[in-house]
Every structure is written in C-alpha cells, then in structure tokens.
Assembly symmetry: C2
Homo-oligomer: 273 residues x 2
C-alpha cells in the first residue's frame, strides 16, 4: 500500500480539518483489512529478528493523539507479535518530581532504543509542547525554543542510527465522546476512565491548534509525522502496522555474516564421538 | 580575581602552545593561594546551599585534560566542602556495551544535574570526539556532526536552566612524565597507574590537535571552555574553584520566600504548653 498519502509534509498550512478520521483507504470493510493483518504481523516479526541480529539501527515509534484516540490499543495490536526481548514500550505520564527537575528531553532520551531494538513511546516529549500551549505556563518564545530543541534532538538520534516514526492518531470529537461513554458503560473499561478526560475535552479546539503547531514545527524530512485516521480501530491498526513495516523495509536489513571462515564442524559430528 | 584571562574565546587560531601550564596568575607561592582556599570553599558551600534551596538552576562542571592532568584531584579538592546531598560526580570510562548501543550523548544526558544540583563530569562526551579523532573510527564529516550535536545538546541544557562550565586542565608533556613516575614509585598510587597511559602518551601531539578542534568547535558564548594551568596543583585547584564560585555568583541566587504569610507560631511557644 502507498503510505505516502498519510505523510504530513513540511507545510505552513493548517491541515487537520482536511484529514478525514473516517478514512479507510481502499478497504471496503473490516474483514478485508483483517485478512491481511496476520501476514503483516509475520513480516514485522521477521524484520525485527534481522534488526536485532544486525544491531546497527533502531526504530523509535512515537504515538500521539487526543485522549481516547487509541494509543494503548494501537501498541497492543501492532506489536503483539514481536519478540519482547527486542522491544520496549514506555508510557509517559505527568512528569514525576525527579523528571520535572530535569530538562524535558531527559526522561525520553533515557528510554530511546538501543541498536537492534524497537521502542514505542505512548505519549512523548510532544506533551511538553502540547500541554503548555493549551494550559499556559510557557510563552511563545519558550515554546519556539522547545520545538528547536526537539528538532535538534531528533536530528541527533537519526544521525546516530535511530529512525524516528511519529504517528498521530486522528479521531473526531464525536468519536471521542463515544469512546468515553464506552468506558463508563463497560465495567472492564472503568479503569481507563478519568474525570480529567472530560475536563480536557473542553480544550479540544486548543489541542487541535497545538497539534497544527507540532506538525508545522517538527514534521521534518528525517523524522516526519504520519496521520492515522483512527475512528475505525481496524483501519487504524492496519495502517499503523503497515507504516512500521514499510519503514523497516527501508532499512538495509540483512543477517550478519560470520566474521571468521566457517569452522569445520565435521569433527564434532564424526563417528568417533 | 579576573577569570576572563582563562576563557577560551571563540577563535579559529590554535591556542594551546600559547598557554603556559606553569602559569600561577598573580601568586608568588603556594602558601599565598592556600591562605585564600578556605574562604573560597566556604563561599562555595554558601552558594550551593542557596542553589539547592531555590531549585531553579543547576551547574554542570565538565573536566577534561590529558592523562595525569589532575582531574580526580581537582574534583576532590574543590568539591570536598560541598553538601553531598546536592552534588553528584560521574567518571565516564570506556563505554559499556549498553552505553555503546546508544547515541554518544545518552549516558551523559542521564547524569546531568537536576535543578538545585551541582554535577561534575570527570571526562565526558568530549571523549567521544577526542578518541575517534586520535585513533580513527570516524571520518571528518562524522566528527563535524558530533560537534554539532554537542553544541545543540549544550544549548538545550543551558536554555533549560543548566549552566555548563567546561574546564580544560592544561599540563606540559614533561609534567605528565613526572606524574607517571610518581605513580610508579609511590605504592599508594600504584592503583592509578595503567600501562595504557604510556601507550596513550605516544599520541600526545594528536590529542593536543584534537583539543584544538574541541575548543574551536565548542567554546560557545553560553557554554565556554576555560583553560586551567595545571602543572602546579595548588594553582590548578585555586583557579578551578575560583571559576566555579564566580560562575555561581553570576546566578540570581536567593533563598525562596515563604509562599504564604508567616504563620503565627507564638501559640506554639506560649507558656500554657
């Protein structure tokens, strides 16, 4: 599939209102997408195995999106088939006192993937430009500087062999309400409900504006943003997984060769043993 | 004292051969400097106490220098009077396997000071541009990019309230030999001797060249290098301590006021108890 449609190009235009959260690409229905999911998951597992063996590059997948846009579910669905030995996921919550006492990139830098690894960030350093933009606390100049620090940080990681993939899960305001209601009605989802979600919902438009800033300031050639239409879970999962697989296929992945000439093991299996 | 003489300005010239490792400023002898050391140490302890109480800024002191230039001794002498609760020191050795699997700034970022703290780096990310310059492993373009990443990283830290002070301990080649001999002759110093020091000594000129690159590429207005003449231990300690104190005096340090009106505690000490 062609993932370029979902790439957010370096642009000064506002784009969110033009992107349809209901989009399902060329699929007619869920079944059609799900039929392809298994093969894609197997492909991801194959690619991860080589990435881990080769230990030359790493992949960082940053997931952002409004509350209830499905960040947890996306991580769960697309990475459920990978070898956990080569995979880490970090959920960034409100900073701890220790985290807040350091620069805003400190806690995320610590969790970046080592060579050979895939890491997913469920929320990230982008919260540190989104939240102060919506709720105040930093002036315009300070925000500008944070964006610059983010570009520099991601440029450094990329240069040091970490490929960064940034996925924005795009849902509609109506869909968010529907999901909040689900959480309230289903006892197995009560734990996901937080009254602050309703409070934050009042700032919907401000968050959308804040994301426009994020795309304008940080969708770079080396670390671009993709938008993922996320009203339909099945398309969200399919597309996010496809982008991860395509990205890994762009790496120069191959199993390392033996350093030394192949040892003669005939002796080990000779009849005299 | 005027520390500006020891500031390495942003310059394209080679400078090391013009700097005298025997320099002792305006002092005639050791006793004169030592008489002033105690007052300076007390001043440092006072300033650190306010820094820690205020928790707005932090200070990072990076120590670099040739083998045997006295990095350990400098840390020991200048910071022996500070409150260890607000101070950390990290010695960066050859990277571990885990460290080497990340970008070269990963392990140093993790050890940067939290607000209110002073941290000293005994060696640092500068080893990651010095060693590959001397022993190969990175081409010119890669080194250039590392320098850029260092400038960006230090700019970010500075912007996020960490002041960075970089001290280059400058000794002569003869003094190094003398110190190596001391280590061999004194049983209490044998543990400091490593046969690789003699190997590295053969690369003296290459390291001096590599430091010229470091100064040219990374002595910025916000995170400048100072050179410390280090042939005389007593002057080295006095000067390094003076620079640390002067730097802290440049912070806007004051004890935080009570947030609320002063509570009336007369009741607590009234006779009826």
């Amino acid at each position: 599939m062609n993932i370029d449609r979902y790439l957010i190009n370096n642009t000064n235009d506002r784009i969110l209102s033009k992107l349809d959260p209901e989009d399902t690409g060329s699929f007619r229905d869920k079944e059609e997408a799900e039929a392809k999911m298994e093969a894609l998951k197997e492909r991801l597992a194959e690619l991860q195995d080589i990435l881990f063996a080769q230990k030359e590059k790493s992949l960082l997948v940053v997931l952002q999106g409004m509350d209830s846009s499905g960040k947890d579910g996306t991580v769960k669905h697309i990475f459920s088939g990978v070898n956990p030995q080569g995979f880490t996921v970090t959920s960034f919550k409100k900073p701890s006192l220790e985290e807040a006492a350091h620069d805003f990139l400190w806690r995320v830098h610590m969790k970046t993937p080592a060579k050979g690894y895939i890491s997913a960030f469920n929320r990230s350093h982008y919260e540190d430009v989104l939240v102060p933009r919506v709720h105040g606390g930093l002036d315009k100049e300070e925000l500008k500087r944070r964006f610059k620090h983010i570009r520099h940080f991601e440029e450094m990681l990329t240069d040091q062999n970490t490929v960064i993939l940034k996925l924005f899960l795009h849902i509609s305001k109506e869909k968010q309400l529907e999901k909040i209601q689900e959480r309230l009605q289903d006892p197995t989802k009560h734990w996901k409900f937080d009254v602050s979600d309703l409070e934050e919902r009042k700032f919907w438009d401000d968050y959308q504006d804040a994301y426009e800033d994020v795309f304008r300031e940080t969708s770079t050639d080396t670390a671009p943003w993709y938008w993922i239409p996320a009203n339909r879970r099945w398309y969200r999962n399919y597309l996010a997984l496809s982008i991860v697989v395509k990205t890994l296929e762009g790496f120069d992945l191959h199993y390392p060769k033996l350093n030394s000439p192949t040892p003669d093991i005939s002796e080990l299996i000779s009849p005299r043993h």
